[in-house]
């Protein structure tokens, strides 16, 4: 079976519970078990080849340019882990079927479990370190889901987050480490990396890569000081603890160290970092385990301790140590999974995992007692169980290790660790199973059904069998795996008796010490309780809380919703960056002469400057500020005229008046005055920023005006061809409707959208709570009588038609003289506004219904259709290819096709402006307005007629 298929099977299995969601948990369990079993079978089929030294591979390209590929390999190491993952997985699936209660969503559980299984299997089968990373992080994610499976448990949620954060951190570090490693080796394929030991170890990036990768491995394998997450992961359902946190996931770190052992090990850095970490972890965790009251917590710390043991062995860097490590991986998986399941059974049956509340279960749960005791004694390293074998190997290796010229140090520490190990193992057996039967168990315990004890029983049998027949039962697997780890063929001889060696002596010492510890247990517990130990969870919580608070503080203070700050940041950034960019470049100095300053423009300048200053000074008096805006707009328009831009002046002044009307409509509701809110210091700072911006922009403008074009402008072409190709004398208009008609098309769309937005907002306002608020609006100032004065009404009767005629004139003349559709649209809008001002919107609207929505739509479509029309001539959008039509006998205007476009502009502008004004005035009308029946309030002729 292809390694890829083996790796994929658990994921396929993960889909099954979801697909079979209605079929119940038996079906889900069977489906998952089947997938697992098939994968295990597939793996087993490769055993002969692997024993023959072959490496089974499967290669698929995924992202070749990065070097991320779906490359799998099965060698001895992968085989070992694969068997562990799938084999124990199978047992766990069976166990979980009986462990989970009816209320637990079993399908979800099995999906998560299979996801994890797939991720874990992916790690061990990967032949690409980037692919390995993918699976690596997937195990973190699936373990997050599994730990948090019981959502209602706060410990579950917190433990899940902690595990994810810690292992996630390691995973992230590993990303960097793997990338460095791959870049040194020139490939991300493990096969290639394993072959480039010398290059890697010679590289200056070796140490960073090593540290980063080890950070990943240590966090995953709960090595000191990252060990704290594992006990908190025990909030997970026990099958999860047994599977992830004893047999498989926590061994991912060990797997990685073993996998990269040929490349990374053998250096002093490796030895001191890995071996020391392992040693410290082993001893420390074992010590802590001595005192745990929660069964699963005890087991968790013992797991940490054993992981430390294996880490230490790998850290020694010798082949014999590697063999010992591999063997202990197997043994630990068997007895620890069995122990977890036992703990789960006890929890399940007795309703508690607290050692203090247990005891005497030997009589009530004999089967459980047998299984648990075998496993625990193996953990303690009692012959002839398998734990003894590998512990002997470990002690043997430890006795040979030398730490900074202190030969016995490691051995002594390892023995101490073994003492503790025996201590907590015996404590587990003694305090749970022995002693008198109690009356106060939360529920009356008894042995569970076959389904629940079957899985641990299998493991317990394995514990015994491996212990008795190590070579037959596990020797081949150890050999294959150790060969793969060390890169050379290994034929270890596993035996119970090696003669009286330092290791044996140490074992005896450990056993004796353990018994003493058990005897002293109560006193030790009391002593330990008296001392305040730093609680890792508290530290983690404090750290994350501090980080969260700091992040919250930073985020809230930085992004505090102050627009002023946002603008200040923007302005300063622009000014500083602009200044920097300019000053680091070269400027040749002014190349254009200055225009002389005439007196009248000087007056205009004075007007503009003074008006602007006043505007800033008086901006709190809002209406006055608006009047000043009017003056400034007037001056800007006039300067456009003076500087040869009549079209601009027309547009500016007509936009100006519409803007003022619009703002007046808005100001009707807004406060008429602004309070002084900023402190003097803020105002000064703002003034400083504003001055800086002003100076910067003025300087930029000055430099631009005094410099010549570096290249001839494209507008020369436009001047030359405006009439010949565009059919108009007014080059600006020809640019607008022809050369750059597409811009104008966009521009009228903007205007149309603006109006639609305003309309939509008005509708929303009038429909919602503010509609009610508006209907009860009280105007804050006294209002004069005579809303529709006679004189205005009468004059408008003349002004409106005249303005319409002017609008038509400006529209038609636009192509050759200043003007065009845009200005015409504004003129007509202004004319209509004057009508509305005279007699009121509703009155006027009632007499001449103009659908402004339709005008906008029609305008955009007209402009668009003029553009599309060119398609039928085989020309691009907006080609004005029709030439000119002179209307005979009428006004002699040249009707270029661009005029159709200009008509669209006209309609859209008219519709947009009127829709916007209409919307705003609707708000006013909602606020207690009335509709008049007559055009003017006072009409003496009415009485005369009557």
């Amino acid at each position: 079976m292809s390694p890829a298929l083996i790796a994929a099977l658990p994921f396929i299995g993960a889909l099954l519970p979801g697909l079979l969601i209605r079929s119940g948990r038996d079906v889900a369990a069977v489906a998952c078990a089947a997938a697992t079993a098939v994968a295990l079978l597939g793996l087993g089929l490769h055993i002969p080849a692997i024993m023959a030294g072959e490496v089974i591979t499967a290669r698929f390209a995924w992202l070749p340019s990065l070097g991320l590929n779906v490359h799998f390999r099965i060698d001895g190491l992968a085989l070992l882990f694969g068997i562990l993952i799938l084999g124990i997985g199978l047992l766990i699936i069976a166990y979980a079927r009986h462990y989970l209660s009816r209320r637990d969503p079993a399908g979800v559980f099995y999906t998560y479990l299979m996801l994890f299984q797939g991720a874990m299997l992916g790690i061990v089968l990967s032949d690409n370190i980037l692919l390995l990373l993918v699976f690596w992080e997937l195990t973190s994610l699936s373990s997050f889901l599994l730990i948090g499976y019981w959502k209602h448990l706060p410990e579950g949620r917190q433990g899940a987050r902690m595990a994810l954060t810690v292992t996630g951190m390691g995973g992230l570090a590993m990303i960097a480490g793997m990338l460095i490693l791959g870049n040194i080796a020139g490939s991300f394929d493990i096969s290639d990396i394993l072959a480039s030991r010398d290059a890697v170890q010679a590289s200056p990036y070796y140490l960073p890569a090593l540290l980063l990768i080890l950070l990943g491995a240590f966090t995953k394998s709960a090595q000191f000081p990252f060990h704290f997450w594992l006990p908190h992961a025990m909030a997970a359902p026990t099958p999860v603890s047994a599977y992830l946190h004893s047999a498989t996931m926590v061994k991912a770190g060990l797997f990685l160290m073993a996998r990269l052992w040929p490349v990374l090990s053998g250096t002093p850095e490796w030895f001191y970092i890995v071996a020391t970490t392992g040693l410290v972890t082993m001893v420390l965790a074992a010590w802590i385990a001595l005192f745990r009251d929660d069964l699963k917590s005890l087991l968790a710390f013992s797991t940490v301790s054993h992981l430390g043991l294996i880490t230490m062995l790998l850290g020694f860097g010798t082949k014999a140590a590697a063999v010992a490590a591999v063997f202990h991986i197997i043994n630990h998986a068997t007895f620890k999974a069995a122990l977890f399941m036992t703990a789960g059974i006890i929890d399940h049956e007795a309703g508690t995992r607290s050692i203090a509340r247990l005891g005497g279960l030997r009589r009530l749960m004999p089967v459980t007692f047998v299984i648990g005791t075998i496993a625990a004694l193996s953990m303690a390293g009692i012959p002839p169980l398998n734990g003894f074998l590998s512990k002997e190997l470990m002690l043997e290796q430890a006795s040979q290790a030398d730490w900074q010229g202190h030969p016995g140090l490691i051995f002594a520490m390892a023995t101490l660790g073994a003492v503790f190990s025996v201590g907590y193992s015996l404590r587990f057996v003694w305090q749970v199973f022995f002693g008198p039967v109690r009356e106060d168990y939360p529920q009356r315990p008894h042995d569970p059904g076959f389904g629940l004890w079957f899985a641990p029983a299998v493991l317990a049998v394995l514990v015994v069998l491996i212990g008795l027949f190590p070579n037959a039962m596990a020797g081949w697997l150890v050999a294959a795996a150790a060969s793969a780890v060390t890169g050379t063929a290994q034929h270890p001889h596993l035996a119970l008796w090696h003669g009286v060696t330092p290791a044996l002596i140490a074992s005896v010492v450990a056993l004796a010490g353990g018994v003493v510890l058990l005897a002293l247990n109560r006193r030790l517990l009391a002593a330990r309780a008296a001392i305040a130990w730093p609680e890792a969870k508290a530290l983690f919580d404090a750290t994350t809380r501090a980080a969260t608070c700091a992040a919250g503080f930073l985020t809230d203070r930085l992004t505090n919703g102050s627009m002023s700050r946002a603008f200040a940041a923007l302005t300063l950034t622009v000014v500083l960056c602009g200044f920097w960019a300019f000053s680091t470049g070269g400027w040749q100095g002014a190349t254009r002469p200055m225009l002389p300053i005439q007196p009248v423009p000087l007056v205009g300048w004075v007007l503009l400057m003074v008006a602007t200053c006043c505007m800033v000074a008086f901006h709190r008096q809002r209406i006055l500020a608006l009047v000043l805006v009017g003056i400034i707009g007037l001056m800007v328009s006039v300067s456009f005229i003076y500087l040869s831009a009549p079209d601009l002046a027309l547009t500016q002044i007509s936009v100006e008046v519409v803007t003022v009307i619009l703002l007046l409509l808005a100001l009707n509701f807004l406060p008429k005055f602004t309070m002084i809110e900023s402190r003097d210091r803020k105002r000064a700072a703002d003034a400083f920023i504003a001055t800086l911006a002003g100076l910067g922009f003025a300087a930029l403008a000055y430099v631009v005006m005094r410099s010549d074009f570096a290249f001839p402008s494209i507008s020369q072409y436009m001047l030359a061809n405006s009439y010949r190709l565009g059919g108009g004398d007014n080059v600006v208009n020809v640019i607008l409707v022809d050369f750059r008609g597409y811009d104008t098309f966009g521009e009228i769309t903007v205007l149309g959208i603006a109006a639609l937005t305003i309309f939509a907002l008005t509708e929303t306002l009038l429909a919602g709570t503010s509609g009610r608020r508006l209907r009860n609006w009280v105007h804050d100032s006294r209002r004069a009588g005579d809303r529709h004065p006679l004189m205005l009404v009468v004059v408008t009767r003349l002004v409106l038609p005249i303005a319409l005629v002017v609008g038509l004139y400006i529209f038609l003349r636009g192509h050759n003289m200043p003007g065009g559709g845009f200005v015409a649209g504004l003129v007509v809008s202004v004319a209509l506004v004057s009508q509305y001002m005279a007699s009121g919107f509703a009155w006027a609207q009632e007499r001449q219904k103009i659908n402004y929505h339709a005008l906008i739509g029609a305008g955009v479509i007209a402009a668009g259709l003029t553009g599309i029309g060119a398609w039928f001539a085989g020309l691009p959008f907006l080609s004005s290819a029709y030439g000119y039509v002179k209307l005979p006998g009428l006004e002699e205007f040249e009707l270029a096709s661009a005029m159709g476009f200009d008509l669209g502009v006209f309609l859209c502008v008219l519709g947009a402006v009127m829709l916007a004004l209409n919307s705003l005035s609707r708000i006013a009308r909602a606020a207690g307005g009335t509709t008049n029946l007559d055009p003017m309030d006072i009409d003496p002729s009415k009485e005369a007629r009557r």
């Binding site: 007056v603 009307i661 202004v830």
Partner: protein, 89 residues
């Protein structure tokens, strides 16, 4: 001669603009400012016409016409705002 006359007229209307500005800045009430703004627009029309005579072009006619219209509408709008708050009712 026409040159001097133009210069004189330029000066007069330029000065007139400054007077208007004075009234905009130092005014007891809003209506005075609106008045000054209206006058400014009218003076601008005069200046534009002078500019046209000076440069011999009729190019600025549309602008003058617009100034006249805009001056009217905006003055009415400001005044109506002062009187009624709502300028289109």
């Amino acid at each position: 001669m026409i040159g001097y006359a133009l210069l004189f007229a330029y000066g007069c209307f330029g000065l007139a603009l400054l007077f208007c500005l004075y009234r905009v800045v130092f005014a007891p009430g809003l209506s005075d400012r609106v008045l000054a703004l209206d006058t400014m627009a009218i003076n601008m029309i005069a200046l534009l016409t002078l500019f046209g005579i000076d440069k011999g072009t009729t190019m600025y006619f549309e602008a003058s016409l617009m100034f006249a219209m805009v001056g009217f509408i905006s003055t009415v709008a400001y005044a109506k705002f002062v009187l009624r708050g709502d300028i289109i009712e």
